[in-house]
Amino acid sequence: MAAKISYADVEAGTELPAQSFPVTRATLVRYAGASGDFNPIHWNEKFATEVGLPDVIAHGMFTMAEAVRVVTDWVGDPGAVVEYGVRFTKPVVVPNDDKGALIEVSAKVAAKLDDNRVRVDLVAVSEGQKVLGMSRAVVQLA
């Protein structure tokens, strides 16, 4: 593994560069195809509202995939992610327009662990609501 970030250069509290990820209906169709998750709540408004959702929502796994990019872009090597877990707390609602929704992700080093590993805590927000809870990654640094 070849992380670009050195363990010695990182302290608990170090912030990773925050990023925002846009998501439109077209994004969701593309993700459905790539992931094989064709649940209609991610593309069919009528179906989504019938099961009690406000509108079409993004795949939780899409949001999870975007959030970890803050970590993989920072560390350079995506293979340096040793553990990654999230709780899906609120759906990312994706309106049927060309603007869609925005997933805003920030992260910081929460703890330095043994063996040059650190725990990174992530915060993902859409429309002012936290969409992921307990979002944490353990990363192997150089």
Binding site: Y31, A34, M64, G76, P78, G79, V82, G85, F88
Partner: protein, 150 residues
């Protein structure tokens, strides 16, 4: 109706091998807008110490989620999948998935709980490569929401 607790600890037979394709990795990385060259450029992946292009961390779910259908569609378990939501997901990686891997998943029911009429199901998927080495473990928590009173 609450799910049968006797299913806790049940392990399902390993799935037929899934071969990780480099174009499938490319498609997945493009779908999440991730331009990290480790996903598409073998030389860039090698420069990071990998033998071939690797898959994004959450790619593993596309394999474990299909494998977990053995559990979620098990007629004996009787989960109402139309009411299921994905509540939590966690991965522990031994190494990243890479192009050419032939992976088999063994799904195990780790826990079944009933809370306010909701059924909560914890499924662990152990992903092994062709040589039998563990590559990644995925923990998936699903909740089948209580049906409304008729």
């Amino acid at each position: 109706m609450a799910l049968d607790q006797s299913f806790v600890g049940r392990t399902y037979p390993p799935t037929a091998p899934y071969e990780v394709g480099r174009e499938k990795i490319r498609e997945f990385a493009a779908a999440v807008g991730d331009e990290n060259p480790a996903y598409t450029d073998r030389e860039a992946a090698r420069a990071l110490g990998h033998s071939d292009v690797i898959a994004p961390p959450t790619f593993a779910f596309t394999i474990t989620f299909k494998a977990a259908e053995q559990v979620t569609q098990d007629p004996q378990l009787g989960l109402d999948y139309s009411r299921v939501v994905h509540r939590e997901q966690r991965f522990a990686y031994v190494r990243p998935l890479r192009a050419g891997d032939r992976l088999s998943v063994t799904s195990t029911i780790e826990a079944i709980k009933s809370l306010a009429g909701n059924d909560i199901l914890d499924v662990r998927g152990d992903v092994h490569d062709e040589s039998g080495e563990l590559v990644v473990t995925a923990w998936t928590k699903l909740v089948a929401r209580a049906a409304e009173e008729a």
